[in-house]
Chain length 287, copies 2
């Protein structure tokens, strides 16, 4: 399934020449705030108080707009849209267990409309899905994959995909890295949990290191490449979650302390899938 393994560097040519450092990608203005005007551009700045865990509300904005109605969707590779997206209870017309027609009502003791089977009475709950991936550090560089599939074909991402039943998040992140980047990695530490409520996804990103100095694009990637932090293609990233993760990582590296980050990426309704900077990063917590 995988193309020939190459020894480090880029797994296909002409990448570093094409990509320039995106100053705008890192260029937030600096405001650390609680409850500030959310229409202001704010800097994604890590807080850290060693002896007391802190709570900060940070909103990170940019000038573009975005929507993830065509969000990554398949179980492990973002390839089938709608089935896995945020969930619309009214799209569930039948019971998947008995085939009975579904009704859409609020069950006793609950508060939300659910799809309830009119024959067997089972409820088809819809819940957010976890996308697990690795931020692979190697010689002060980061491994990125260029997407060979929609959505965000041709744009750069971390190796990541939907967590499967029966595996842990760390195992899923390692599997996805092998499938998308042909890289054997060891998970080093949890780095970020980024919820995206609008599309019913939670990104779980681990820091990882290469077990062997090899990588090669899998079927879902056209290229894999190690990028110096100054050369990360911020203008050509695939998803808001990757944009946030890489910014958090760069800030941590600059501060000399890698932390764990929790945050909520609230996308702006009605904006396009390509507008990966149209969001606020809310409830940014660190440990």
């Amino acid at each position: 399934m995988l193309k020939a393994i190459q020894i480090l560097g880029c797994s296909s040519g002409f990448i570093s020449q094409r990509l320039k450092k995106s100053h705008s990608g890192n260029g937030f203005s600096l405001i650390s705030s609680k409850g500030s005007d959310t229409s202001t551009s704010l800097f994604l700045h890590p807080f850290w108080t060693p002896k007391t865990l802190t709570f900060r509300l940070i909103r990170m904005f940019s000038t573009q707009s975005e929507s993830n109605s065509n969000a990554p969707a398949s179980s492990s590779s973002f390839s089938s849209v709608a089935v896995h997206s945020a969930g619309n209870v009214h799209k569930i017309k039948f019971c998947q267990w008995c085939g009975g027609p579904a009704k859409h009502e609020i069950p006793d003791g609950e508060e939300k409309i659910r799809a309830i089977c009119t024959l067997c009475g089972k409820i088809a709950y819809q819940n957010p899905k976890m996308v697990v991936g690795c931020l692979i550090e190697h010689e002060k560089k980061i491994l990125l994959c260029k997407r060979n599939i929609e959505p965000s074909y041709g744009l750069w991402t971390l190796p990541a995909g939907y967590l499967e039943i029966g595996e842990s998040a760390a195992e899923g992140a390692v599997r996805e890295t092998w499938e998308e980047a042909g890289a054997e990695v060891e998970v080093v530490s949890p780095f970020a949990q980024l919820d995206i409520p609008l599309i019913g996804q939670t990104y779980i990103i681990f820091l990882a290191k290469l077990k062997k100095p090899h990588f090669s694009p899998g079927p879902e990637s056209s290229e894999c490449c190690l990028f110096e932090l100054d050369n990360i293609p911020f203008d050509s990233l695939a998803f808001s979650s990757i944009f946030v993760t890489l910014n958090l990582y760069i800030e941590d590296v600059k501060s000399g302390k890698i932390k764990f980050h929790y945050g909520t990426i609230n996308k702006r309704l009605g904006t396009g899938p390509s507008d990966i900077r149209a969001f606020t990063l809310d409830y940014h917590l660190q440990a």
Copy 2:
């Protein structure tokens, strides 16, 4: 929906008298290991190297056995079994979108058997679900809820439940805390992610504090009570995830440093739901 609010203390009587400190609950032997014999009882001990994020494999055992075939299952309150458990692709007989009969095959480009609609071709992916909850600290005590529903009726747990579409994990944890403990809380920091692959669940636990010094059991709880760390009812806890979370927290408090924990709870197959100590804690990572 909620019973009358009470000012702190226990929300029903006779709790502190009934519960004794469970020495066995904290009583692991101490071995910090990588790849050690997994049949050995090992201590759940937090590692922390401030300047280098570390990877440790810890296995935590006890003498009992457990199974979660009757795992917590409903969307937000663990009340309906099977619909939400780890997922069995062969239970999916029909397409929930068009009602067509499902076949069970490995789709092109994938590696796992999926339920595929024979009419519209859509794939019904099954993915792990997030259970979000709060570990509420108040005056060196922890708020626990006594379950008023199955599974684990009458046993103690942290307020937690399934994350809903459209909310962040932090929002879900706050909501569940209100629903189950009648407590308004503010999330302080991420504390733990504990995957349970066997039952397709991931626990996301936040440290939180009371916004008002009030709590009261919701419909799914019979009692809510603040416990001193020395009096946590380890012999009467509802779930392995809660057992692990509380142990990690106590160790962190003792060490003087609260960390973020990632780990995998691997349950022993074929054991009973009440055997919450029949597991290993693998891939315990900290940040």
